[in-house]
C-alpha cells in the first residue's frame, strides 16, 4: 500500500502556522504594551503622597507629588454619558429614516454623508468647538441656567461657554455618525418576513418598526452605542481644546469646571517630569479599565435576552 488516502492536504500546515502565529503575535504585543505601561506607572504611584483612586488634585510634577484619578474619571464618565444621551435618540432617528422612510435615492445620499461625517478627524470638530461653539453656547447655557436651574445638572452661580456641556455637545456630534451608520446597517437587516408579519396584522409603518425592526436591532444598537461611548471616553484632542481643565467633581455641567482623562494626558504630557509621565500613564490604565467595564456591561445587557434574540430562525 502507498500513502493513506486520508492524508492531510499539503496546504494545511503553513496556513495553520501563519494564522496561529498571527494570533499569538497579537496577544504578545498586547501583553508587551500592558507590561510597559504598568512598569512606567508603578514608580509614579509609589511616589504619590495621596491616594490615587480618591484624590482629585493632579500635581504629579511637584517635588512632593499629589495626584488622583477621581475628578478626571468623573469628568470622563459624565461628559461621555451626556454625549451618548444627546446622540443616541438622534442617531436612531437618522438610521430609521434612512432604512425605512427615505426614498431610495435620498437614502443612498444620506448614508454616504453619514459615512463621510464619521471619517472627519476629531481635531476638526475640536477647532469648530473652540471657534464657534464656545462663544455660541454662552446664550443657551444662560437660558438653561435661568429657567432649568432647578435641575442639578444646570445649577450653579456662573455660566461659561467653555464647559463640560459644550465638550459633551461636540462629543455627541462626533459619535452620532458612527452610531447612526451601524444602527442603519442593523435596521436594514431586519427580516422582511417579520416586517410583513406586522404589516399584514394591520400595523402602520411606525408600529411595524416597533414590532419588527427595533426588537431585532436592539443588540446591534446597544453595540453601536457602546462603540460611540468608548469613542467619547477615549476622545482626546477635541475635548482637550474645550474642557475647562480643572480638577473638581461637580454635576454642574455649565460651570467652568471639569476635565477628562484623555484631555489631561494630551494637555500635560509635554511638560511632565518622569513621575508626571508615570502618573499620566496610570490614568490611561484607568481609562482602559473604565472602557472595559462599559463594554462588558453592554455584553451583559445583550446576552440577558438571548432566549428571545434567536431572530427568525
Amino acid at each position: 500500500m502507498g500513502r493513506s488516502a486520508f492524508r492531510r492536504s499539503r496546504g494545511e500546515g503553513p496556513f495553520r502556522f501563519a494564522t496561529t502565529g498571527a494570533g499569538i503575535l497579537l496577544l504578545a504585543i498586547m501583553a508587551a504594551i500592558a507590561v510597559f505601561l504598568i512598569v512606567k506607572a508603578v514608580p509614579a504611584l509609589q511616589a504619590n503622597t495621596s491616594h490615587f483612586l480618591t484624590e482629585k488634585i493632579w500635581t504629579p510634577n511637584a517635588t512632593k507629588p499629589v495626584f488622583g484619578i477621581a475628578a478626571l474619571a468623573f469628568g470622563t464618565v459624565i461628559s461621555s454619558f451626556l454625549a451618548l444621551i444627546m446622540a443616541l435618540p438622534v442617531a436612531i432617528g437618522v438610521a430609521l429614516f434612512i432604512s425605512h422612510y427615505a426614498p431610495r435615492r435620498l437614502a443612498g445620499v444620506l448614508g454616504y454623508v453619514i459615512d463621510l461625517l464619521a471619517a472627519v478627524p476629531s481635531v476638526v470638530y475640536g477647532l469648530w468647538g473652540v471657534i464657534f461653539l464656545i462663544p455660541f453656547m454662552k446664550g443657551p447655557s444662560t437660558f438653561l441656567n435661568t429657567y432649568f436651574g432647578w435641575i442639578p445638572l444646570f445649577a450653579g452661580d456662573a455660566v461659561y461657554g467653555k464647559s463640560i456641556l459644550t465638550g459633551s455637545i461636540v462629543l455627541a456630534i462626533m459619535i452620532l455618525p458612527i452610531i447612526a451608520a451601524i444602527s442603519r446597517e442593523v435596521f436594514l437587516q431586519a427580516p422582511t418576513m417579520l416586517e410583513e408579519a406586522s404589516l399584514a396584522l394591520g400595523a402602520t409603518r411606525w408600529e411595524m418598526i416597533r414590532m419588527a425592526v427595533l426588537p431585532f436591532g436592539r443588540p446591534g444598537v446597544i453595540s453601536a452605542a457602546m462603540l460611540g461611548l468608548g469613542r467619547a471616553m477615549g476622545e482626546t484632542i477635541a475635548v482637550a481644546l474645550i474642557f475647562p481643565a480643572t480638577f473638581t467633581i461637580t454635576f454642574q455641567v455649565l460651570s467652568a469646571n471639569g476635565n477628562s482623562i484623555a484631555a489631561n494626558i494630551a494637555n500635560g504630557f509635554g511638560e511632565a517630569t518622569p513621575i508626571g509621565q508615570g502618573a499620566l500613564i496610570a490614568s490611561g490604565l484607568v481609562l482602559f479599565v473604565i472602557t472595559l467595564v462599559v463594554n462588558m456591561a453592554a455584553r451583559l445587557i445583550i446576552s440577558r435576552r438571548k432566549e428571545y434574540s434567536r431572530a427568525a430562525a
Binding site: 410583513e196 406586522s198 394591520g202 408600529e207 414590532m211 432566549e307
Partner: protein, 258 residues
Amino acid sequence: MAKQIEIADLDAYYGSHKAIEGITMTIEPRSVTAFIGPSGCGKSTFLRTLNRMHEVIPGARVEGKIMLEDQDLYGSDVDPVSVRRTVGMVFQRPNPFPTMSIFDNVAAGLRLNGRISKSEAEGVVESSLKDANLWNEVKDRLTKPGAGLSGGQQQRLCIARAIAVSPAVLLMDEPCSALDPISTLAIEDLISKLKNDYTIVIVTHNMQQAARVSDRTAFFNLAGQGQPGKLVEMDDTPKIFTNPTQKATEDYITGRFG
C-alpha cells in the same frame, strides 16, 4: 363576519413588469378557495393584492377592482392599514415575532387597535389559540418565546395571531410548504374548521392538499417566461380535479408539466 370578494379585471405590476393580467373571479364566503398553478404564474402575487400587501414592495402596483362585499379595497379614500386588519394573512414560513412570548404574539394585532384590558386580551388569546388547535400544547407556557415552538406549532401560532383580530378573510400563502406531513395534516384540519367562520383563500403547490381542503379551485398559468400570469379556469374542486374544461388544467393536474 365572513365576506365575499369580487375581483374584476385585475392587473398587478412589479415596476414595469406585468406579473398578472386580467383576473376576474368571485371568492365565496365560508368556503375554502385554492389557487394552484406552476411557479411564477402569479398566484402568490394575486393573493397579496387581496390585502394590499403587494404594494409594500417598492415599485409594485395594482390596476383593476377588488370589492369586499360593498367596499372597494382600492378606493382612493381607503387606508391599506385598515384593509389588512380586515383581511388577515398567514405566510409560507412561520414568522412569529422572535422577541415576543406566545401570549404577546397572539395579542400583537389586538394591541395595534389600541389599548385593551388584560382580562380582555387573555380571553381573546385563549379563544384564538383554541380555534387554532394550539391551546392544549401551549397553555402552560404562554410566557415562553414563540420562536421556541416547533415549525408546525409556530405556523398555528401565526394562524392564532391572524384570527385574534377577527378578520373577515384569511389568506394563506403556501402555509404548509415548510412543514412536515403531520403538522401539515394539523393545519389542514384547522382550515376545514375555520372555514365555518371565515372566507379562506389558500395558495398551494400541493395538488392533493388543494383537493383535500378546498371547495373551489382556481388554476393559474402563464404563456411563457416573462409573460403575465392569467386565470385559466375556476370551478368546484371535484370538477377541476376530475373533469376540467381546459386542456392546460388537465395537463397540470395530471403532472404533465409544472
